[in-house]
Amino acid sequence: MSDLRELYQQVILDHNKNPRNFHEMADATKRVDGYNPLCGDHYTVFVKVDGETIQDVSFTGNGCAISKASASVMSSTVKGKSREEAEQLFETFHRLVTGDASGLSAADLGRLAAFSGVSEFPARVKCATLAWHTLKSSLEGSEEKVSTE
């Protein structure tokens, strides 16, 4: 069970049960759907961007614990950050969950560190990154549906 506890850390279980920013946003500047057809995970990410600053992020939808907790942590982590900072956070997160965490400090990771166990479960990387991919596409101005397949 040790690998499992590593994957489903308390932070993840908590965010899965009580996701933060889990609501629609009436005054969003952009909303983008993210979909993982393999497992049926489906989220809508709402962002409110003012110039370079991400003022607010929220999401709705459903999926597995990893994808939901990741969306929840993502939304609270990037809120108030600049576009560039958000993209850097995604890169850091992506390296963490794909097992390329060398040189990443605890300070770089912050709350994202809870997802360190994902790298041992290659089949779950797509779950962990779905909301981030969706955020990225919303910041890039895409209206397309995002798919992690």
């Binding site: 497992c39 049926g40 614990a65």
Partner: protein, 413 residues
């Protein structure tokens, strides 16, 4: 033999020893393989047969005059004859080898369909079909301005047969339904479906991917027009499948792919096509697959489909009862006639997480939409977990699944 006597005579331990992969571990635990609706494991007899083919028989078929080519051709055509007998077809001309069920269905859509479906025609499918029995017909309907209509399903996962009979009208040219549902296990009442279709002048194609592994198939008794299945779901190799078609229908259909083997003579002005079944088998076939498939069907026949059905039914009933002991577990698909497939959801836990936790216990189940997204929407679930039992599974393994699900609950509740 009664069902109970058959169950007693069924030596599952001996059968398990025929499957070398079942002796291995997964994640440091004993492998519990409950993903048979996705693909089945292969008995040593099939593995050995393929090794023997490559060790002492390999040569191209239908071509050479030399010894090995003659040998491989004989083995290849013997395999076709075996498939013919196994599904009780009238003639070997009616057995077309394909890459699998999906290719078999596409062959019918692209040849029979493009010749016979016209604007305004209707094709009926059911609400519990696999994508492979939806998308080829959607593509055909889009091309021909025909209409795809869906036979509704009750909450039990059984087709609404009366609604189906009311949907039949002179515009319906084809009814395409599964023998058994890969996602819910529902076994469809084929005879009633086929009789009603024929009375209406419609043809019937059956997706038998989940039929052949569990049920005795007699295409003449069913009076089915087309029947498609895959080798790998019935303990044979991947990449090989069968299309059965009634001879007169196959004769009238144009060829699909062009190339070697499907021709009698070729000039730049005119090509004469080969006779059945070769008309539909362009190019060097999957010889190893065909020979391996026959070995798999022989293996299944030696155990006996009635004995297999009885064993799997026992597992279905037992596992269903045990699973329902779990608080918050709901089974999707409760048809009276079911193959040994159990789709389930667990309150508060997404199926993907269930799959990961079970995997850590060495238990292989499928999680997701099972290539049946419209069906998942119909039952208002994004995905399910699915345990599907084969001829080598045991009650003990059903118990291990239940224990694994209790661990899932420990992690998430």
């Amino acid at each position: 033999m009664t069902a109970a006597a058959a169950h007693l005579a069924y030596d599952v331990d001996r059968i398990r020893r025929d499957f070398p992969i079942l002796a291995r571990n997964a994640r440091g635990k004993r492998l519990v393989y409950l993903d048979n609706a996705a693909t089945t494991q292969k008995p040593q007899a099939v593995i050995d047969r393929i090794v023997r083919y490559y060790s002492s028989e390999n040569s191209n078929v239908h071509r050479g005059v030399h010894y090995l080519s003659e040998l491989s051709t004989i083995e290849f055509e013997n395999a076709r004859e075996y498939v013919q007998r196994f599904i009780h077809a009238r003639d070997i001309k009616e057995i077309i080898f394909t890459r699998g069920t999906t290719e078999s269905i596409n062959l019918v859509a692209q040849t029979w369909g493009r010749t016979n479906i016209r604007e305004g025609d209707e094709i009926l499918i059911s609400a519990i079909e696999h994508h492979s029995n939806i998308v080829p017909w959607q593509m055909l309907c889009a091309e021909k301005a025909a209409t795809l209509r869906v036979i509704p399903v009750f909450d039990s996962g059984e087709l609404d047969i009366e609604a189906y009979e009311r949907m039949l009208n002179p515009r319906v040219k084809l009814v395409a339904v599964g023998h058994a549902s890969n996602a819910l296990g529902t076994i469809n009442p084929l005879k009633r479906i086929i009789t009603a279709a024929h009375a209406n002048g419609s043809l019937v194609l059956v997706d038998g991917a989940q039929g052949v592994p569990h049920l005795r198939v007699d295409v003449q008794d069913l009076a089915v027009d087309f029947y498609a299945f895959s080798g790998h779901k019935v303990y044979g190799p991947t990449g090989i499948g069968v299309l059965y078609g009634r001879q007169e229908l196959l004769e009238a259909m144009p060829p699909w792919q062009g190339g070697g083997d499907m021709i009698l003579s070729v000039s730049y002005e005119k090509t004469t096509y080969n006779a059945l079944p070769y008309k539909f088998e362009a190019g060097t076939p999957n010889i190893e697959g065909v020979i391996g498939l026959a070995a798999a069907l022989e293996y299944v026949a030696a155990i006996g489909l009635e004995a297999i059905s009885a064993h799997e039914h026992d597992l279905l009933v037992y596992a269903t009862r045990r699973l329902l002991e779990i608080d918050g577990l709901r089974i999707i698909g409760t048809a009276r006639e079911k193959a040994s497939v159990i789709s389930f959801v667990l309150d508060g836990v997404h199926p993907h997480d269930i799959g990961t936790v079970l995997d850590q216990e060495g238990i292989a189940v499928r999680t997701g939409h099972h290539c049946a997204q419209p069906l998942m929407m119909r039952f208002n679930v994004p995905a399910t977990g699915r345990a599907s039992f084969g001829l080598y599974n045991t009650r003990d393994e059903a118990d291990m699944l239940v224990d694994g699900l209790k661990k899932v609950i420990d992690v998430f509740r």
